[in-house]
């Protein structure tokens, strides 16, 4: 008896017992679907968390000038010149003069934070503009009184009116609104929505000083962060001569947190996957054990009319492989549908499709199905035909 024949016989047997085949398949479908949707949910949550940490910028280096130097301060131009000389380690720099000020529009006014900076800020701090534009080099060079406003300000003093092109007063100076900043939904950075960004040159009028105490520096890459910090420190020491008058720090805490979060999410993920694999596997195992054991008599009949052990085993192996294989494919489809329509539809976590986990759950289901389909068949095939025939 050839393989093709065994295959045909297995298909015939599956078709001949639709109810049992379906139940077996159902076990596999549920097993596979639950593994991949549970894993997708866990991965989606992980991605959510790591994305929002990464969005804060892991290449970012902050310079705070804390003391005062008798001779002179480091200006934005000094830092920029240094950055241009060290282009291999430093990607971009942006000054950041921040001060709180009263902003007025018509009769409405509110207190807010005003940040003076340059176009580089947009990229370094990952700021998004939803309407209008960001600050341009032109605005900085020619000290234009232009401003970008956060959504909290749009709500508070524009009250839904389109702010683009409107004139606002900051500390008595008139500024034209040229852009609106994207809402930062994250609660940890809520204050980002309550701010105004203006050219660094224009901010001198507001702060009353040209000295800038905060700078954001973007390292050329995450790996270059340490080198960039070292050379920045050396540069600052040359200007200030005193290590206590400035601070250079990176987002290493954030990187550590990211690592920790990713690590613990991976453990959660592994746990969820393992549990659903075990549950799914036990389901498949049970249905296979039952369905093959109740066929001992059939095995007896087949042996009585001349089937060899190998024929019986081939048939049952193909049956188990086909049933669990089809079940596995349906399970993948169901799982992906759950990810797409339920996880994607609820939109709590992003829908992540993990091909490796899909393959793992499919492979393990197939393996469990075949092993527990074959094991009772093997036992029954070893009985002498009369013993097998007697079982009912």
């Amino acid at each position: 008896m050839g393989f093709i024949q065994a295959y045909k016989m297995a298909i015939k047997s599956i078709r001949g017992n639709k109810g049992r085949s379906f139940l077996t398949m159902l076990g596999v479908i549920i097993g596979v679907a639950s593994v991949i949707s549970a894993v997708a949910f866990a991965q989606g949550s992980t991605k959510n968390i790591t994305d929002s940490i990464q969005k804060l910028g892991t290449n970012l280096i902050q310079i705070n000038i804390t003391g005062r130097n008798s001779n002179r301060n480091m200006s934005y131009e000094d830092l920029k010149e240094f950055a241009e000389k060290n282009i291999d380690i430093i990607g971009a720099v942006a000054p950041q003069s921040s001060t709180s000020a009263k902003v007025k529009y018509g009769t409405k006014n509110m207190d807010t934070t005003v940040i003076g900076t340059t176009p580089e800020y947009e990229r370094i701090k990952n700021v998004h503009v939803t309407q209008g534009r960001f600050i341009l080099d032109f605005d900085v060079d020619y000290r234009q009184n232009v401003a970008l406003v956060g959504t909290a300000i749009v709500r508070e003093i524009f009250q839904g009116k389109d702010p683009l092109g409107e004139k606002i007063k900051i500390k008595g100076q008139i500024f034209k609104v040229v852009g609106v900043l994207e809402e930062r939904a994250s609660s940890a950075t809520r204050s980002d929505d309550d701010q105004i960004i203006i050219p660094v040159t224009a901010s001198r009028m507001i702060t009353g000083t040209s000295a800038i105490r905060n700078f954001s520096v973007e390292a050329a890459s995450a790996e270059k962060v340490k080198t960039a910090m070292e050379s920045l420190e050396a540069f600052l020491l040359k200007i200030y001569k005193n290590e206590n008058t400035y601070r250079v720090f990176d987002q290493s805490q954030m990187l550590d947190t990211l690592g920790e979060v990713t690590g613990s999410m991976m453990i959660v993920l592994g746990g969820i996957a393992a549990i659903s694999l075990i549950v799914g596997g036990i389901g498949i195992m049970n249905i296979m054990l039952v369905s093959v054991t109740e066929r001992t008599k059939e095995i007896g009949i087949r042996k009585a009319i001349g089937a060899k052990r190998k024929n019986i085993l081939t048939q049952f192996m193909i049956e188990a492989a086909v049933v669990t294989g089809i079940g596995g494919i349906l399970g993948l489809l169901l799982g992906f549908s759950i990810i797409k329509f339920i996880i994607g539809g609820l939109n709590i976590v992003p829908a992540v499709y993990s091909i490796p986990w899909a393959l793992i759950s499919f492979g393990i289901s197939l393996l469990v199905g075949i092993i527990f389909g074959l094991f009772p068949a093997y036992k029954a095939a070893r009985l002498n035909p009369i013993e097998a025939l007697r079982s009912e």
């Binding site: 045909k8 016989m9 009949i301 042996k303 009319i305 052990r309 035909p385």
Partner: protein, 225 residues
């Protein structure tokens, strides 16, 4: 061709030993038509199981076509059953989820015969037993007598030299019973060895030889005149 020497078969259930066969000595020649008769529980089916290579005796020798059966492996026994023996079981032993046609072609599948040939032969034998119009029925869609005839068809499909029929007329009305007996007689005429198991003396009279067993022992062995 069948030679049995001092065969015993003992079943043990917990502490109770049941001697289903005791000191059986029997020879059946090629193309004999032998009836094994005896009351219920006398060991007829057990003896058939031994002769049909379905079970192994507790002790004794069984030589089939010059081969000592007890020395054979499981797969070798399967091959003998497949090629030399056709069984008509007392309880039919049909596979419930397969149709009449699929049940009948089964022995040929294990011989590696191709689909077309299998279907042709299976249809033919089913027609011969009067079930040409029931090919696609499953056993539970057939009457007892029809199932019996499917079992007969399955036993005949591989044209085995030896046919064991365990109460083949037990479930049939007189007319169908006669038909089955005629079928067996015809096979006998064609050269097959027929071993018929029955508790019905009238049926047994139609064989050439009657072997009577009682309580697991042969108590009578005579030719029918």
């Amino acid at each position: 061709m069948i030679q049995i020497y001092e065969m015993y078969k003992t079943y043990q259930i917990n502490d109770i030993k049941i001697e289903a066969l005791k000191n059986i000595n029997l020879r059946i020649k090629q193309n004999e038509f032998a009836a094994i008769v005896g009351p219920s529980g006398s060991g007829k089916s057990t003896l058939m199981n031994m002769m049909g290579c379905l079970d192994i005796p507790t002790s004794g020798n069984y030589i089939l076509d010059d081969v000592e059966v007890s020395s054979l492996r499981d797969d070798e026994l399967a091959e003998i059953r497949n090629q030399k023996i056709g069984f008509i079981f007392q309880s039919f032993n049909l596979i419930q989820k397969l149709t009449a046609l699929e049940n009948v072609e089964l022995p040929l599948i294990y011989q590696g015969i191709n689909t077309k040939e299998r279907l042709r032969r299976a249809k033919l034998v089913l027609e011969n037993v009067g079930l040409g119009d029931r090919l696609d029925h499953k056993p539970n869609e057939l009457s007892g007598g029809q199932q019996q005839r499917v079992a007969v068809a399955r036993a005949l499909i591989n044209n085995p030299p030896i046919i064991f029929a365990d109460e083949p007329t037990g479930n049939l009305d007189t007319k169908s019973g006669i038909e089955i007996m005629n079928l067996l007689k015809e096979l006998h005429r064609k050269g097959n060895t027929i071993i018929l198991i029955t508790h019905d003396n009238d049926i047994a009279q139609q064989a050439d030889r009657i072997v009577r067993i009682n309580d697991g022992e042969i108590v009578e062995d005579r030719q029918v005149v």
